[in-house]
């Protein structure tokens, strides 16, 4: 009998005799391996998370930060903003009605009448846009005080009416700048700013229609702001 032949029956007997403990050992080994493998993703995540704990670099990033002393401004108008915007709307509607009066009196003709009509429509659009911003809080009426105070200036020669209109546009500009200095809501500031720049253009056009020949007279902007306290919304 050679070595192999002698060994095989012995090994076979050994295997058969230890089958119960070996099965148990195999089950334990398989269980431990499975548990270790199932922990692998979790452990690797942990390890990855530890590796990412270094603070992110901020070099080269653009940070839009408000001034350190102020909180971010709200988008919507505040209660105080709404009061100011309501006053602005009554002023815009009063200006629109004054242009209506001038056009009804045929103070302008031809291309000048077209321009004044376009300016009149712009003021109506401003009032409508304020309504769109403050909704049911919009008064939707003109300032009678302003209208009555200016009504007599909006009839007569084209030059005289244009000069009165230019002065009134400058007053509107000054009023809007005053309002901008108090508004908090960002939406309202954007709207008033977009109205203001065009009313400044209105003033220049009307100055030129009124006959301003020098550049300084064409660019005149000496309007005095209306105080909301003096022109309360009824």
């Amino acid at each position: 009998m050679d070595i192999k032949q002698a060994a095989l029956p012995t090994a076979a007997a050994h295997t058969a005799g230890d089958s119960a403990p070996m099965a148990r050992r195999r089950i334990l080994a398989a269980g431990a391996s499975g548990a270790a493998l199932s922990l692998l993703p979790w452990l690797s995540d942990r390890a990855g998370a530890q590796a990412r704990t270094a603070p992110p670099t901020s070099g080269g990033e653009t940070v839009i930060a408000p001034a350190p002393t102020t909180a971010p401004a709200p988008k919507r108008p505040t209660a105080a903003d709404i009061e100011l915007l309501a006053v602005a709307q009554t002023i815009e509607l009063a200006i629109r009605d004054l242009y209506d009066a001038a056009l009804a009196a045929n103070s302008f003709e031809g291309a000048t009448a077209e321009a004044v009509t376009a300016i009149r429509e712009a003021h109506e659009a401003y009032a409508q846009s304020i309504s769109g911003l403050i909704g049911a809080d919009a008064p939707g009426i003109r300032s009678d005080k302003l209208y009555n105070a200016q009504r007599s200036n909006f009839s007569g020669s084209a030059a005289a009416v244009a000069q009165a209109a230019a002065d009134l546009e400058n007053v509107a500009c000054a009023t809007h700048i005053d309002i901008l200095g108090s508004l908090i809501g960002v939406d309202a500031t954007g709207l008033i700013a977009s109205i203001l720049v065009v009313e400044a253009r209105h003033a220049t056009v009307l100055n030129i229609i009124a006959g301003a020949s020098t550049l300084s007279n064409q660019l005149a902007s000496d309007g005095v702001a209306l105080s909301p306290a003096d022109y309360p919304v009824k």
Partner: protein
């Protein structure tokens, strides 16, 4: 002596199966991962590397503050002064036109002085020169279209000098004042304090007036843009537009002679500038057409309000 191996110590008694290998391998990986996760973390201050590499330069933080916005506005006013100077140098302007541009330069200088005060109040250092990006990207090409220059790079032809430098110079001045008004208007929602918003709108309305006056100086008929007239329901604008005449073949004429159709070349429709271009202040790019028309088109460049890539941040300390 016996050379037979004891059955208890024979290592090949049970051959290593594939399943056994997988089990042992999985167990090894699992234990290794467990050991790695539980090990203390060693911080490598200087990890090993091959070669000598210069560490990348770290850019400073770019924080947009009120002061940065004021600095940027001042820089754009400096650039506008540069543009007005180009208009004066290259535009062959009349004395009246030169006086207008001089007055506009003075107005922009006054705006810079005021913005310097606001910059200091907002905690930043006033900026004292032109906006580098604005000058490089915009003013350079505009100047080229007025003066002309040899072709460069992949261009096929030389840039021809302007056929009407005065027209282009006035258009440039008008566009610059329009950009100034738009820029200040665009700053309003970005500034944090109401008083700063009111301050910039003073400059916006002044620039808007200058743009309107110049539009009427260029063409007194251009008061209101056609779109605004349409919005105002003005159905029959009296603005006279140039008409084109076409000499066409008369088909009623009977002749044996060969007929030719001659169509007069339509004049180029140059860009128009209006004192009242829109009902509300626009923040769109200002389109400026300059140079001699070629192939039915004119070189047109968009002038936009400053954004993140053209702001003058606090870390920029040198002009």
């Amino acid at each position: 002596m016996n050379n037979q191996t004891s059955p208890d110590t024979f290592i090949n008694a049970e051959p290593l199966s594939r399943r056994g290998l997988l089990r042992v391998g999985g167990l090894t990986i699992g234990l290794a991962t467990l050991a790695a996760a539980c090990a203390t973390e060693a911080k490598e201050v200087k990890p090993a590397r091959v070669g000598d590499v210069t560490p990348p330069a770290k850019l400073p933080d770019a924080v947009v503050t009120d002061g940065v916005l004021f600095r940027t506005a001042a820089s754009v006013h400096y650039s506008i002064i540069d543009a007005h100077t180009i208009s004066k140098e290259l535009g062959n302007l009349s004395p009246e036109q030169t006086a207008i541009v001089d007055a506009y330069i003075a107005a922009n200088e006054a705006a810079i002085r005021d913005l310097a005060k606001s910059t200091t109040e907002a905690g930043s250092k006033p900026w004292t020169c032109a906006n580098p990006r604005f000058d490089r990207v915009l003013l350079g090409p505009i100047r080229d279209r007025i003066t002309g220059r040899p072709k460069t790079g992949s261009e096929e032809t030389d840039v021809a000098p302007s056929d009407d430098p005065t027209r282009d110079a006035l258009a440039l001045a008008h566009a610059m004042e329009t950009v100034a008004a738009e820029m200040h208007q665009s700053l309003v929602p970005q500034l944090s304090l109401p008083k700063y918003r009111a301050a910039v709108m003073q400059h916006a309305q002044a620039a808007a007036r200058r743009a309107a006056a110049l539009a009427l100086a260029i063409n007194p008929a251009n008061i209101v843009s056609p779109l605004s007239l349409e919005n105002a329901n003005v159905s029959t604008p009296t603005t006279v537009e140039a008409t084109t005449t076409t000499a066409a073949q008369d088909i009623t004429q009977s002749t044996d002679a060969p007929t030719t159709t001659v169509a007069a070349a339509a004049p180029f429709d140059f860009q128009q500038y209006y004192a009242l271009p829109s009902q509300f202040g626009s923040l769109n790019a200002v389109q400026l057409g300059v140079g001699v028309p070629s192939g039915g088109a004119q070189f047109t460049i968009n002038l936009e309000t400053p954004s993140l890539n053209s702001l003058v941040y606090d870390y920029q300390t040198e002009c």
